[in-house]
Symmetry: C2
Subunit: 404 residues, 2 copies
């Protein structure tokens, strides 16, 4: 009963809010990922298990594993979050990667840096223009952050490294289907983000839904953009465990839960984080952000502890909003605390301090701080590494080409 098991198919906890910095060569992946085992080192009653779950046997109270095994549970907490949603266009995923894992970030970094390398080599002006065109689909925090970061990579970090191209001529395009950027933020802050990105030469196109994505670019209405790299930063949908629970899902693939975050009809199963669908008092769902997820994790722990101790459980989950933050670029961000709205350098400072504070592990914090300080003062990027993940050791040793 007192046995805690943490099952994860990855060996690390990833600080997702900074994943875009790995994709744009500013941070190394090890700086924002910490082994789950290390985090749980002091919790001697927690066993970490690297395994892939593939289903739940609700009547038998068993978590089913990919290797055919199963784990018995008395209480199950599902916190598997969301995946990117290509809105039924599964083929778009091949051409427009999204950013959810370390491997995603390394692959996007590879494609991004490779585009500049190819542009340096080609003599065809049209092809060069295509290679230096980067399209971000979706004007939420990730799209805004990526657009700003790519624009700065091109303008500053790569500035003097090429001989035949001017990296600053890169065309960064941010497409947003809705009428404003950062739809969860106040209008004034969205307008600031728009101005700030345009000052950085990002070509922001609002009310511009995407109709098609292929290997050579995107189509929006009757407009065509030839681009070497399209990155998907648009909608998300609940990850597949939502479908294991036998309860009706929302249209976004998330799981409607009781006020104590348990699954309706299954008080022994909880859903916490982005995958849970909780209504606010005004009838709107809570935003799918890290601050909500962290509070829900702590809340579910209190509910379980109260049940085990036989004491009064806490009241319904209530989200206390500490504020929203989004970064646009060097010294430029927006912060929305409801009672206080900040833009520019002050918001950027708040953003940087908050993100360093919430990074897990003292060492990662100091490392990221130093990396940022170095990059801020030098305009350089520290992690410009192209690693071809698709080439395994076997292929390479069979490969007779030179190790140049």
């Amino acid at each position: 009963m007192r046995n805690r098991l943490l099952v994860d198919r990855r060996n690390h906890h990833l600080f997702q809010p900074l994943l875009y910095q790995v994709a744009t060569a500013a941070l190394s992946s090890t700086e924002i990922a910490q082994p789950t085992r290390s985090i749980m080192r002091g919790a001697r009653n927690v066993t970490v298990r690297l395994d892939k779950a593939v289903g739940v046997d609700l009547p038998g109270r068993r978590l089913l594993l990919a290797d055919g095994g199963a784990l018995h549970y008395d209480i199950l907490v599902i916190a598997t979050g969301v995946d990117y949603n290509y809105f039924g266009h599964a083929d778009w995923a091949r051409h427009a990667p999204s950013l959810k894992s370390v491997a995603d970030a390394i692959e996007i970094r590879r494609r991004l840096l490779l585009a500049f390398e190819e542009a340096e080599k080609t003599d065809d002006p049209a092809r060069r223009r295509q290679l230096l065109t980067f399209v971000l689909v979706g004007g939420g925090p990730t799209g805004v952050e990526m657009a700003g970061s790519i624009a700065e990579l091109a303008r500053f970090a790569l500035r003097r490294d090429f001989r035949h191209i001017d990296p600053a001529s890169a065309h960064v395009i941010l497409l947003e289907a809705g009428p404003k950027l950062l739809s969860g933020f106040a209008d004034r802050l969205s307008a600031y983000a728009l101005r700030a990105l345009r000052r950085m030469n990002v070509d922001v196109r609002l009310s511009t839904p995407v109709d098609a994505i292929d290997a050579d670019g995107v189509s929006t209405g009757d407009h065509r953009i030839e681009a070497a790299l399209v990155i998907w930063c648009a909608g998300v949908r609940g990850s597949s465990p939502a479908s294991w629970l036998g309860v009706p899902m929302t249209t976004h693939g998330t799981v409607p839960v009781a006020p104590d975050l348990s699954v309706i009809g299954h008080p022994e199963v909880f859903v916490a984080g982005d995958l849970a669908h909780v209504l606010k008092q005004n009838g709107r769902p809570l935003p799918q952000i890290a601050t909500v997820a962290k509070q829900q994790g702590a809340y579910v722990a209190r509910v379980i502890a109260a049940r085990a101790a036989g004491t009064t459980p806490p009241g319904p989950f209530a989200f206390r909003n500490p504020g929203s933050l989004a970064i646009i670029g060097r010294s430029s961000a927006v912060a929305d605390f409801g009672w206080l709205r900040l833009t520019g350098f002050v918001a950027w400072l708040v953003w940087a301090l908050a993100h360093i504070f919430f990074l897990i592990g003292f060492r990662n914090r100091s490392e990221v701080f130093l990396e940022w300080a170095w990059e801020w003062f030098t305009y350089k990027r520290g992690a410009r590494l192209i690693v071809d993940a698709s080439r395994s050791t076997d292929e390479r040793s069979a490969d007779e080409s030179p190790r140049q």
Copy 2:
């Protein structure tokens, strides 16, 4: 004529002497790799080109590229080094990866960390023992360094992270075909390395050539070792450009060169570094190490500059040996300067300072220094990340399993 072109199929210069630390989760890959473009930023007459060479047209003086193109040269310098040599057993490469690239190191790290994860899960004692058995083939510097580093990872960094296994029970086996470790070093230093590794519980077996390697372990004579991970640290052979030059190669696949490092019969082509076969005065070839390669690079530059200026070229290449270093573990190394031979902590300090000094780029130096200082005092490892390189973005988005 004055146009310098640097062709490399990777975008980064890799500091190979520290690659084993990426494989054993001590350093992040970005800490020991620097974009070639950044290194060449100040050399405005150098153009860096990311391309894969596949041959040389000697009469036409053209370097042939994988994409079908070719680059004209007046002078060609080949410095593609060596690859691991499986001595005709191409199938061993699949089971026993070697360590030459960033992708290699990340793959070895993945297999290494995964073995502990699998051992934590299994209930079968024989399988657990196999999973916790790590075999290094080859007792040169890489084998010695890897053996020490894996032993310390198991004894210190992972010590309190598991619940069902004791990582310190890991069985690290170092197999060397010859009668001593570190064959290039003085006997006294080799003997020290042997004692130091055995004190760290590394099972060193000398005069033990490997007869077979398969997915489940290795065979040496009539002895069988069941192991989850076998790492190949044995011989090397020249990389394939050696075969492009139409001159007889050595049995090790390297290129015999004239005293000025040019290819015999082709004064316009130079070979520098591990791929060049240069005889010392005593008739033995120079060792294939970084210090030789760096001096040869500088020497070839002087030869070319003298030719361009029409001045007297320098005399034959002569290697000035600054000494050899090999690390065994925490506070334990050997240093051989000929006139001075060091072991233990003092040698370790020399090793650490030399390696930090020769790392390219101020930032990497300070980063690696801080990382080492942190790891030395805390016994932790900072880069314990399992990234599955074989799963591309497309596969993952088509994958309906949970993002746990």
